[in-house]
């Protein structure tokens, strides 16, 4: 059953047609990846789906709700949370306060303490630095915080935009392990990545985005062995 369905999504920046009517879906329990080069429209897709960028046309159905015109801050309440490109943690707030903001959408704050403990167990570094101002964390720690912050809202669908960006190879492996873990715990994942090799390896299905259109789709394995993907994204 499709948890997220995107139909003919079109986005313009002024007169520039950034997304040329793309359609894709994410099924419950899956890890789905959108891969593509810089400027292909990956981040535009992620941000327009949650209403951070206005859509020109098309529709978005999430968990049975039509969220095409739903304002961004209400979408979190339905169970779709995004770790945005560049992490965008709140630099001036402490680690703890960032996690508090992650739980902002929770109507019932009673689970806050146990959720916090779960995050601190999953990311021990955040526990060590809970009172530190987030802007002083290293890039890897900031990525952990951004993921922890998103999980605080108990998402059914977690969207991650370039989580491996700017991280050392060791940390990249760690991030992908964590994504697999989160998925095993029952959270559906929509991932955007430039690191096609690593992301295809953990994906159930994937789509290739080029110049604002989806040019190829298939299972992670199919795409990883496809001639076109190998040439363009996996270095031959």
């Amino acid at each position: 059953m499709a948890m997220l369905e995107v139909h003919d999504l079109e986005v313009y920046y002024g007169v520039i047609r950034a997304l040329k009517g793309i359609s894709f879906e994410v099924n419950k329990g899956e890890i789905v990846t959108l891969i593509g080069a810089n400027g292909a429209g990956k981040t535009t897709t992620m941000q327009s789906v949650v209403g951070l960028i206005p859509k020109r046309s098309g529709s978005v159905i999430f968990d049975g709700h039509d969220i095409t015109k739903t304002p961004c801050h209400k979408i979190v309440h339905l169970g779709m949370t995004q770790v945005p490109e560049g992490r965008r943690i709140f630099q001036e707030l402490s680690v703890y306060d960032n996690l508090l903001m992650g739980a902002y959408s929770m109507k019932n704050q009673s689970s806050f303490k146990s959720d916090l403990e779960a995050i601190y167990t999953r990311f021990p570094r955040l526990a060590e630095r809970k009172n530190q101002i987030a802007g002083t964390l290293s890039g890897g720690e900031q990525q952990m915080l951004a993921m922890g912050r998103a999980i605080m809202s108990h998402p059914k669908l977690l969207m991650l935009d370039e989580p491996s960006m700017g991280l050392s190879p060791l940390l990249v492996d760690q991030v992908f392990e964590i994504i697999k873990d989160i998925n095993k715990d029952g959270t559906t994942i929509l991932l955007v990545e430039q690191n096609a090799g690593k992301s295809l390896a953990i994906s159930d299905r994937a789509y290739v985005l080029e110049n604002g259109s989806i040019v190829l789709s298939g299972t992670g394995n199919e795409l990883a062995s496809s001639e076109m993907v190998r040439k363009a994204y996996l270095g031959g």
Partner: protein, 299 residues
């Protein structure tokens, strides 16, 4: 003793500037706009005191604060919200327009008269009359009751606001929105709601500032908000616009400079010149203000 008196007066005058500056700085931090109608909320607050004082001084104070908060929300809704995402210049011109609108409306409704409401003599009629005239004397030290109340109010408001921003969910959400609106929305924070709360708090503080001004038996007129408004704006910039402790610090500094300049006969006539020179010097030396941070621009 002379020095101490001037210092205490400076704290009290500066505290009022700080209270007004908080409104500028919070709105700037969160809505990224300069609300030049903010000073005129002071004027509206003072007229509300004039209007409700015959009923009861306490009622007048509470009514002024609540009605100004509602006015702030209302102005934001009809004048600024439709311009969200418009060029900063359009918003700035609108704010100046709102400022003139409020002044003209006050002129039409209240007429050209000036009022001296003096709510303190209604609150403490015994004490404000003979033989003390509202002056508390302890040994050789004396302080005006209005100054004492102002200092207490300023201390309470600054502490409460700091605690609110630091330790409540809404307060933390305000900091989050001022830092990154998009990321805040992704957390489920309703940015419009936070902006509304900010305007309400800012306007309520302006009303409180105006009440404290009337405690000193100053006159109430339609343009009375302009000078304290613009001085508080200078204070917000000196402290670092967008920074709450900055506005507090900037206000206090400006108040101290004002009172010490007035205490020296040779430079007293140039007090306002000195205050605004301070702003110009700050803009030349450190444009971000004392506690302001350089924000990285997001691409």
């Amino acid at each position: 003793m002379e020095f101490l008196n001037t210092f205490i007066n400076g704290l009290s005058v500066g505290g009022v500037y700080a209270m007004i500056a908080l409104g500028y700085t919070m709105v700037y931090g969160i809505a990224k706009m300069l609300n030049f109608a903010h000073g005129d909320i002071i004027m509206v607050g003072a007229y509300l005191i004039v209007l409700f004082l015959p009923i009861n001084p306490i009622v007048a104070i509470i009514a002024a604060i609540i009605l100004c908060a509602i006015l702030g929300i209302f102005i934001e809704k009809i004048a600024y919200k439709p311009l969200r995402g418009a060029s900063p210049l359009a918003v700035l011109i609108t704010a100046i327009g709102v400022s003139y609108l409020l002044q003209s409306l006050a002129q039409i409704i209240a007429g050209p008269n000036t009022y001296y409401p003096d709510p303190l003599s209604k609150l403490f009629p015994e004490f404000m009359g003979e033989p003390t005239y509202g002056i508390i004397t302890i040994g050789s030290f004396s302080i005006k009751l209005s100054t004492l109340i102002t200092l207490i109010c300023v201390a309470i408001v600054m502490t409460a606001l700091t605690l609110f921003v630091k330790y409540t969910r809404t307060g933390r959400a305000m900091v989050a929105v001022s830092e990154d609106k998009g990321a805040a929305q992704l957390m489920g924070i309703n940015v419009n709601h936070i902006i509304m709360i900010t305007f309400a708090i800012g306007s309520a503080l302006a009303a409180l500032a105006s009440i404290l001004t009337t405690f000193d038996a100053s006159k109430v007129s339609t343009t009375m908000g302009s000078l304290p408004g613009i001085k508080a704006f200078a204070a917000a910039v000196i402290g670092g616009i967008g920074s709450i402790p900055g506005a507090m610090l900037g206000g206090i500094i400006l108040g101290l400079v004002e009172c010490f300049a007035q205490a020296v006969p040779a430079i007293a006539p140039y007090t306002v010149t000195i205050e605004f020179s301070l702003l110009i010097i700050m803009l030349l030396v450190k444009p971000t203000g004392i506690l302001g941070k350089k924000r990285r621009e997001k691409v």
